[in-house]
Amino acid sequence: MKGARATVKLLEKQNVDLMFGIPGGVLLPFYDELVDSDIRHILVRHEQCAAHMADGYARVSKRPGVCVATSGPGATNMVTGVATAFMDSSPIIAITGQVATGVLGNDAFQEADSFSLMMPITKHNFRITDPKALPESINRAFMIATTGRYGPVHIDIPTDIFQADYTEEELDVKARVPKPRRNLSGLLDAIKLLESAERPTIMVGGGVTWSRAGPEIAVLSEMLMAPIVTTLMAKGSVPDNHPLVLGVCGMHGKQVANYALNNCDVLLAIGTRFSDRVTGKLSEFGAKTKVVHVDIDSSEIGKNVKGRVGLVGDAWTVVNALIAGLQKRKKKATWIERIKILKKECTCDYNIKSNPIKPQKVIHDLSKLLPDDAIVTTEVGQNQMWALHFYECQDNRMFITSGGLGTMGFGFPAAIGAKLARPDSVVADIAGDGSLQMVTHEFATAVENDIPVIVCLLNNGWLGNVKQWQKLFYGSRYIATEFGRNPDFVKLAEAYGADAIRVEKQSEVAEAIERGIKSQVPILLDFVIDPEEDVLPMTPPGKASSECIKGRCIWKGGGD
């Protein structure tokens, strides 16, 4: 068989049944073989979105998502999507076509050095210049993506490789990838620290979402009487309605979560890299705190916060080891009792019934009305931060967002990928008008392929988050943040064949969401919101959380 057929067969052997992409000249032999394959191919409208869809699919299914782009501009367009997956440790397989090996390096038509471009934003990447390397590379790509810390893998395939000859036996190559080393030598020290802790707190990050260790962490927190705070990436990994879960910490996090983080004596940090958006001023962060840092990636231990005790291993294994080792701990209830009181102080009514619509009201109604297994994705900016702070990700709900790279335009294609991974769940994208305009063309993809996702557009006519920073830190000198002329989003969605409603009164929000949930076609809910509403509370960048800007927030600072 030819290389094109071999490539498709190798993908089928990896149980790939879905891929996202756009064909091109060098990919013609490969696409020709897809005609006879059972793999469903979703034709997207921009390669970046192919990667985002594969990413959304991977985050829901915990299996690698596959995206395909042609050489040159196809590959460069895909870079943003791959980088997004890399920063959030999402396993996607990005396949790009390449010009023939004979002209590689000669500036051929549609040639770009995508191998070099993808190198720093992938966990690993292959450029197949020797036909013999194809089967092993594809098999290894899937293993690398899902071994240890997950991550995207890129395969660059020159077009003449698709014409090479292969036998059936040549495809049966077993790929081997070294398992990451576990290092639990600090386990006894960690247990000792946690046993003697008076004010222990557990901080969970994206690693917990990937290893699905939420239930075990809930058990551990009950054993330790320790509250759980989550990062943006871990929202939903432990249900927000668990009594010991305080919610998301960081710049726009819950104040009680930041309080617990800053006032604990022992912090058990699991699967988090201590992003600057969480820690604020690094020197002030947990100055008196002893840290037990658990991560699957040994290079994360001590990278941003110098861990006193580092444990290298996946969250699920290490948490279970801690549970087994902590049987003797005496429970001290004073800290957790105090946190429970403070948690009540951090509970406000954000069902704001005023016009123009406040974004909090939309998030409130989404929290109330979405089913318990709903998947919410977000774009990036104010919409993401309102969702992070106010959305109740309870029970089996999932929260998908571009946390690391902060890619505007991520949420909508990711929602499409998520819906394909779990067609029975309601999938809603909480969007802003800035982000959505980067990817509106994907309405065509959603409509064409009958993928009914809900786009909840928080439309304030501004690049709101940048505007907020201009307002707070640059004396309201606004530049390049107001959209002078936004399109009519309802007409735009309808032009693509999607359903759409404009909502301008707070009393109509709930009804619109209910219509969205029931919709059998992609639907846009255009919530025209108050452009003056900021995302607050906010801890300014580089400041300690005591210097928080509160706005409507009723938090009294945790003082007695």
Binding site: F115, S116, M119, P120, K123, H124, R127, T129, I144, V177, D297, S298, S299, I301, K303
Partner: protein, 120 residues
Amino acid sequence: MEVMMLLVYDQPGVMQRVMGEFTRKRINVETIVVGKCEMPERARIVLSVTDKEKAHGVLEHLRALQEVIEADIVDSDRHEAYAIMQGKQGICRVTGTVEEVEALVMKSQPKRYIEAMNAI
């Protein structure tokens, strides 16, 4: 001065990938030697950097690369060094531990010198 030794697969792109980690972490590589080694299809990279903390920081990142089989910092205490210096008094040969030889070279400030560290 920290000397690092890496065992890698000998294929195109490996140097770029390894050096990419140094670029990202803003580490200036002082010296680098790469070549085929006693094992087939493997190559060894020996390089030196000045910042000890940064050298240790990048180590785990290097080990995480698929094409890197081993990455270690060469223990400078246990290794011998050798230097030939040309100064005002003519040519002078020195042997000893890395620290001793380095200290002597620094102290005598020769016009020209060749220093071989951890070579044996």
